[in-house]
Symmetry: C2
DNA sequence: ATGAGCATGTAACTGGTTACATGATTTA
DNA sequence: TAAATCATGTAACCAGTTACATGCTCAT
């Protein structure tokens, strides 16, 4: 009845191999970072709750000095829940793109500001593009025969295409902004008396 | 000192023209829907709070029968705050793409499920692509000379490119899935004895 | 010595969604 | 007559972030 609000990602991650909360956070950051994130404030309480529900089970691993590691692994019922979730349609992310929002109001702001936003955005995706390529090489080298690889490559391909597209968009947008600025300058010059002369 | 948590979008929207909370919701849904959203539960309390802070001011519009409309417009200090916000770098959306998450764990689920997810995703972006084209035509026709138009077109271009890219990705991904399934079938047949015969 | 990394966790907060309540008017 | 649209708003809830607390080990 209760519409299950567990962070199913944890089920999926723990299904790959047993992990501690710390491991999970690291794994997400390093491997799913370009389309997912989790914070400790979610992971630890959620793992406990899920253990209480029998979806995962933990075993303790002693360490030297550091706090004991709680290693969580998937139970049969956890796997059932994972299967169920994997079969349900993915809920689409609620759209909230602050860059586009600012750009939409661009006319009310300063042109240089808008240009800077797009340039920063462009730079981010340039570096992301390179990362994707590195990750792809690494994946093939380290996990070339892993049965999960084709799926990992699908998500990576998404990232690659996304960044490539956004680079193109940024370039086109910056070009448009150039034209806007030039047209503006021309008009200003005309109005202030010196030079001028495009189509009306 | 307090890191201003107002929904700056409201400032931007009200800067376009004075609006009521209801108008704002409608405007966002109809015009910014592909990259932004707001719910009444945010809009109404936030407008009141912002009025208290002097960022917007409201005037009452009597109506027949329906509740009076509170029309909000930007104040000078509201505009200052808007300018400030427009100049600050856009905070990037926290990555949370459930489709990719499921796909990443695809190997643990059913192939048909994954295929269905991608097909649904594809269909959505096909219809979105068409919407963008319609909106573009409409924008040129209705607001062909509006000074804000170039910026609106930039955000629209983002949407268009995005959907086009995702259509391509979907197609490529479905093709990969086909190949996977075929390879799987071939292997199964081989194992169960009948036929067979690819490279080792 | 300093800082990064390991490893756990909690509390307070912020942001946002959903469902509800109200009730008239217009359209199918 | 039913449903959609207009128009306001609140309360309860849920998800997620941030900052904090603790303290060891290892590399620079």
């Amino acid at each position: 009845m209760k519409p299950r609000t567990i962070s199913h990602s944890l089920l999926g991650i723990v299904s790959l191999r047993p992990m501690s909360g710390y491991d999970i956070q690291k794994f997400v950051k390093e491997n799913l970072g370009y389309f997912w994130k989790e914070s400790y404030g979610q992971i630890y309480p959620m793992l406990k709750r899920m253990a209480g529900q029998g979806l995962v089970e933990s075993r303790v691993e002693r360490t030297n000095g550091k706090p004991d590691r709680q290693i969580y692994s998937l139970t049969a019922s956890g796997n059932a829940e994972l299967q169920k979730w994997l079969g349900e349609p993915a809920v689409l992310p609620s759209p909230r793109n602050e860059l586009l929002l600012k750009l939409f109001f661009g006319r009310s702001g300063k042109t240089e500001d808008m240009r800077r936003h797009v340039e920063e955005f462009r730079a981010r995706h340039e570096s992301l593009s390179q990362q994707y390529t590195r990750v792809e090489t690494w994946l093939h080298r380290e996990h070339g025969r892993h049965p999960g690889l084709p799926y990992w490559l699908m998500t990576l391909d998404y990232g690659k295409r996304n960044s490539r597209m956004l680079l193109e968009w940024s370039t086109a947008t910056l070009r448009t902004m150039d034209r806007l600025t030039k047209a503006d300058n021309a008009r200003t010059k005309k109005r202030t008396g010196r030079k001028g002369g495009e189509k009306p």
